[in-house]
């Protein structure tokens, strides 16, 4: 097995899972397909990079790239742990801010004026353009450049990959901090979302508000607050995705963020993950994002090896588009639909419970 392909694909797949989750969550609650969603992570990445660099500048810290030996192998930790913690926290905070600005600054006012879902969808595209333009102005600003240049990061091609924590095991395997972080993140995310949705009152309220907003309101549940919480969660996960994109640029299909390629391509894959997950399933979206990440890189890789044509790697997005087409044609409910009980019950000849609905 190609270990490096596996780790970089895992990071990429985790980023997609985080983004697909955010898209699905917003679609389920506010019924808006948020085209600006992947770009929220860009805002988060820029903010994290700037403040991490600013932190290094203000403390006078220099990257230390000499490996130390540890029980795992040779370990390189370029900056102190605060540097990374600041990155994660800033990324999450800015992801949330960018999400809430979108919701309260654009979508809610439009909704109050009677905008329909189509209008809101177009509005998210407009917000997307606005973010790209703003970030372009931001990262060409001379002060921003200076701060970033201080630790050797180019504002035009932002990547902190060289400052990622790395371990090279005695067997020669290369493990990056982003890989470990992304694996832990996805596991934690799955478990905490499960606990939130199924074991807390807030979670039950969220599920109720998604299923039947008028009834939830009649029962005195503040549906509006539930929506705000879902935007906050979606902003948080976008922020985490942004942090990973920054730290692991070049892993999988992650491009270094730049003014000319501001995370454009990832939009396609993130939406593919959401659709394959079933659009209306939180856990489906995580699985869908992961699946897209792996097949987008592994299938072209196998094809390239099989045909001996490395050019095939360029067509990885075709794979996700095909996966979307197949899903919509043959299993429109996505992975969530495939896992639902009915299909299996039918297979084993079990009858549906009687009197399911007389309406």
């Amino acid at each position: 097995m190609d270990w490096n392909l596996f780790t970089s694909t895992t990071i990429y797949a985790s980023v997609l899972a985080l983004l697909s989750l955010g898209i699905t969550l917003i679609y389920m609650t506010t019924k808006v397909f948020n085209f600006a969603h992947p770009r929220l992570s860009l805002v988060a990445a820029y903010a994290a990079a700037t403040l991490m660099a600013y932190y290094a500048q203000s403390t006078g810290a220099q990257p230390n790239l000499t490996p130390k030996s540890s029980f795992l192998g040779s370990l390189t930790v370029p900056f102190s742990w605060e540097f990374y913690v600041i990155g994660v926290i800033v990324a999450m905070a800015f992801g949330v801010i960018a999400a809430l600005v979108e919701y309260y600054g654009i979508l809610k006012p439009l909704q109050r004026r009677g905008a329909d879902y189509l209008m809101l969808m177009i509005a998210t595209l407009a917000y997307d353009f606005l973010l790209v333009a703003t970030l372009f102005i931001y990262n060409t600003h001379v002060d921003v450049r200076k701060v970033l240049a201080r630790i050797g990061v180019l504002s035009t091609k932002m990547s902190m990959t060289s400052y990622d924590v790395t371990i090279v095991t005695s067997g020669g395997a290369f493990i990056s901090g982003s890989f470990i972080f992304s694996v832990i993140l996805i596991l934690l995310l799955g478990v905490s979302l499960y606990l939130l949705l199924f074991k807390t009152t807030l979670g039950v309220k969220m599920r109720a508000s998604v299923e039947n907003p008028p009834l939830a309101e009649v029962l005195g549940i503040n549906v509006e607050r539930v929506y705000a919480i879902s935007w906050i969660i979606s902003g948080l996960t976008a922020g985490l995705a942004g942090y990973l994109m920054l730290m692991a640029a070049g892993a999988g299909n992650l491009k270094p963020i730049s003014a000319t390629s501001p995370a454009d391509e990832i939009v396609v894959s993130a939406f593919a993950g959401s659709i394959i997950g079933g659009v209306n399933s939180i856990f489906g979206s995580i699985a869908g994002g992961l699946l897209i990440g792996y097949i987008e890189l592994y299938i072209p890789n196998w094809l390239a090896i099989w045909t001996g044509n490395a050019e095939l790697f360029k067509y990885s997005k075709v794979i996700s588009m095909l996966a979307v087409a197949i899903t919509l044609l043959f299993a429109p409910e996505g992975l969530a639909g495939l896992l639902k009980g009915e299909r299996w019950k039918k297979l084993f000849g079990r009858k549906e419970e009687e009197g399911v609905s007389e309406e």
Binding site: L219, G220, I221
Partner: protein, 241 residues
């Protein structure tokens, strides 16, 4: 006597949905502790009348009074806080949640032991719900769903139940059961306003009968009197005489 004081009153209300007026100069009293049954032909404005009580329509003029207070402009969730429970005709439960989750959600703002006590009361009134406690509400039968919808209402101990056509689309046998449950609800002391398309069965469990035709109240009196008015039955209700 307090008993005589109606729990709710409409005074010369004109109401409808945005620009479409469907109720014309409606005045009505809802007696405390009784079942008031609103009947009438399709499209007459029965449901609009019920929704007007709960603030789900636009009131152009007139007054809506609840326990002596003018609540005409009050939004539905505020009315829920005052002690009104509205049971929708459809989608009146959370199909993806279990029975117990539905009930707990209904009492989300109650202290824990109080909530458990009230859930127990619901189970005592509707033992079938206890059997189905951990079942997803969406997998229950139509009658059981209506039972759960009433249970959800009971958790909040409302002063007034507004129930919109609970038997619509149900088989006659189950419809009968649902109406029996409405009666049981009333016997527990709850005041009920019921909109019912099954005129005879509805009026049989009701104390007061209200006949709505073309957005106006045509009859307002004891339910058995309305049931006995063959002329009205023939004209508007399509009942075989």
């Amino acid at each position: 006597m307090a008993e005589e004081e109606p729990i709710m009153r409409l005074e010369n209300v004109n109401a409808g949905y945005e620009k479409l007026q469907t109720l014309f100069d409606v005045s009505l009293e809802i007696p405390r502790g009784k079942i008031t049954v609103i009947v009438g032909p399709n499209g007459a404005g029965k449901s609009t009348l019920l929704k007007t009580l709960f603030g789900l329509t636009t009131v152009y003029s007139g007054k809506v009074i609840f326990e002596g207070k003018d609540i005409t402009g009050l939004p539905p969730h505020e009315r829920a806080k005052l002690g009104m429970a509205f049971i929708f005709q459809l989608n009146n439960i959370f199909a993806n949640l279990t029975v117990i989750e539905n009930l707990r959600l209904a009492g989300h703002d109650l202290p824990k032991d109080e909530l458990e006590k009230r859930i127990n009361e619901v189970f005592e009134t509707f033992p079938r719900l206890r059997e189905r406690m951990y079942q997803k509400a969406g997998t229950m039968s139509g009658g059981e769903r209506q039972m759960l919808a009433m249970g959800i209402g009971m958790i909040r101990k409302p002063k007034l139940f507004l129930i919109d056509e609970p038997t619509a689309g149900l088989a006659p046998k189950i419809a009968k059961e649902v109406l029996a449950n409405v009666k049981r609800l009333n016997e527990q002391g709850y005041t009920v306003v019921l909109v019912e398309q099954n005129v005879k069965a509805g009026l049989e469990i009701g104390h007061k009968g209200v006949l709505v035709v073309s957005g106006r109240i045509v009859f307002d009196g004891p339910a058995e009197q309305l049931l006995a008015r063959k002329d009205l039955a023939k004209l508007y209700l399509g009942l075989a005489v």
